[in-house]
């Protein structure tokens, strides 16, 4: 495996070499004014639409009594469990399948190449009609899923959205359907970026098939996989669309996640502060994930 390591080390050295600026050291005078002017638009957007709303959210949710009320509420406890299941199962199953499928799409058969554009469709479709379609597919005996079950196997299908477990599962499946293509494409791009010489060197050293996967692909894609999983976890904890359109929180708010519960509190129960407190209670999970993500990004081996 030493040949592989040499190739890798050379590549990383080239990456880490410091690069000089055209404006030796830092820009001065009118050029400095330009450099500042170029940053101003983003700074304005950042303060007006990121810092101010965040500060406002923290201010709205500052009262400890709100959190006592949340902890006492069985609905909140159930929602936390739902969110953990939705994120834990949804993200990990999706990322693992995406990693495996990216390997499948590397195969040079024409039918594999023809499948890729079809497989990418869910990503290209807007989320709203896609999730509404899932909702209609699952509503009771008239939906397509139960229609197919009775037409093909003569089974009477369950009422998918009337059972907490089934409805939760439906949300997760719809979520995986929509977002797996994007991550498959990301891992596919990562795999194509591995130089062919590395595979050849590994093959000479006797690593093919499963051993190639564990000894070559995994070490090279490991950091990319970690970063993508963390990023996807951050995005999924805040996912509102899937649950609000597929199960609509049914039956009786029992499949709500934090984002939809916060929304119900704020706009249906007219208690915006309680809604903000409900979503802000995810911060102890979000902040460590974000810190690990930043550390992983600093290692400079990752590309999206």
């Amino acid at each position: 495996m030493s040949s592989v390591r040499q190739v890798l080390a050379a590549g990383l050295d080239a990456l880490n070499r410091p690069r000089p600026s055209a404006w030796h050291r830092n820009p001065h005078g009118s050029e400095f004014a330009w450099a500042i002017a170029f940053v101003v638009p983003y700074a304005a957007v950042f303060f007006a639409f990121v810092v101010y709303p965040t500060a406002s959210a923290l201010w709205m949710a500052r009262d400890p009594a709100l959190y006592r009320e949340l902890i006492a509420s069985p609905l909140y406890a159930q929602t936390v469990v739902n969110t953990a299941l939705f994120v834990g199962l949804g993200v990990n199953v999706k990322m693992f399948l995406a990693l495996m499928l990216s390997g499948f799409f590397m195969r040079r058969r024409w039918w594999v190449k023809a499948t890729l554009p079809v497989f990418m469709l869910p990503w290209a479709l807007p989320a709203i009609p896609a999730f509404v379609s899932f909702h209609w597919m699952l509503i009771g005996e008239e939906g397509l899923v139960d229609g197919l079950l009775s037409a093909l196997f003569g089974i009477q299908g369950p009422l998918w959205l009337n059972d907490r477990g089934l409805a939760l599962g439906s949300n997760i499946v719809a979520y995986i359907w929509k977002w797996m293509p994007f991550w498959t494409l990301t891992f596919y791009a990562g795999r194509t970026a591995i130089p062919q010489e590395i595979y050849e060197a590994a093959a000479v050293d006797g690593a093919t098939g499963a051993r190639r996967f564990t000894h070559v692909v995994l070490p090279l894609l490991g950091n990319l996989y970690l970063v993508c999983t963390l990023l996807s976890t951050l995005w999924t904890i805040g996912d509102f669309t899937t649950v609000s359109l597929v199960s609509e929180g049914a039956p009786a708010y029992s499949t709500d996640v934090l984002a939809t519960l916060g929304f119900h509190y704020a706009f249906d129960a007219a208690r915006p502060s309680l809604g903000v407190a409900a979503v802000m209670s995810a911060l102890p999970v979000l902040i460590p994930i974000a810190i690990i993500l930043m550390c992983a990004l600093q290692t400079r081996k990752v590309q999206l």
């Binding site: 330009w34 450099a35 957007v45 869910p122 807007p126 379609s133 929304f263």
Partner: protein, 276 residues
Amino acid sequence: MSTITAEARLTSSRTASRALRAVRRRHHLETAGTLLLSVVLIVWTIVPIYNMVMISLEPEGDVFTDHIWPRVWSIESFWGVLTQGHWYLEHFWHQFANSIYMGAMVTILTLTIGTLTSFSIGRMRIRYGWLVSNAALLTYVIPASFLAIPFYRIMQNYGLANNLWSVIAALVAFATPYAFFVFQEYGRSIPIEVDESARIDGASPIQIYLRIYLPLMAPALVAVGTYAMLLAWNEYLYQFLLLSSKSSMTVPPPVAIYYAFRRRMTAGLTMGGVKG
């Protein structure tokens, strides 16, 4: 002697044919396996899309589909949408235009703000520039949907309630950190000497930005532009929350543009990954 050689030759040819048969069997297995997986993936992808198309082709009042084919094929629904023939759809074309406008604005603003900032940080090396790009990443610590409630209040303070620009502003704020990331990674592949020689020839920073930086960044611009547009199309909560009057609502537009850009988009993603 000759019999021994002949025997050896026979055995070796037997081994070879056995090995060949094993290779061929593995080849057939691979063919069968990849074919099967392709079919499974296509069915998995198509079923919800098929359902969506079928519902739109059903005659009105027959939304629930206990049968697998529509009894009567009807383009009545599409006609109704296009002619705004239902009270719920009376602003369809207006809303469609809103969607296009919003997608375009989010894309243009994300690209403009993203490249300007990346140029200043990555090429001009402004002091404390790293602070800006790290602060930008903080945007992802709190998911956008968690800020929806304060956003709703703030937009009223800004006088942007029920205004398309409230959604555009929110989406640009959430799309730019990813844009910085891609632009800075891609920018590393453009030699700084290009900027240097332009500067010696007397080009001002804005000229270098417009004439050198932007053209060289084209593949990254396509990748980020597609990302921003798809973000705008997939957004639901902010549009649902911030736009309540019918004339400012949007509808999700078609997917044709994605297919036009798909090849370049994949190329852009791959280019970001050259250093793997």
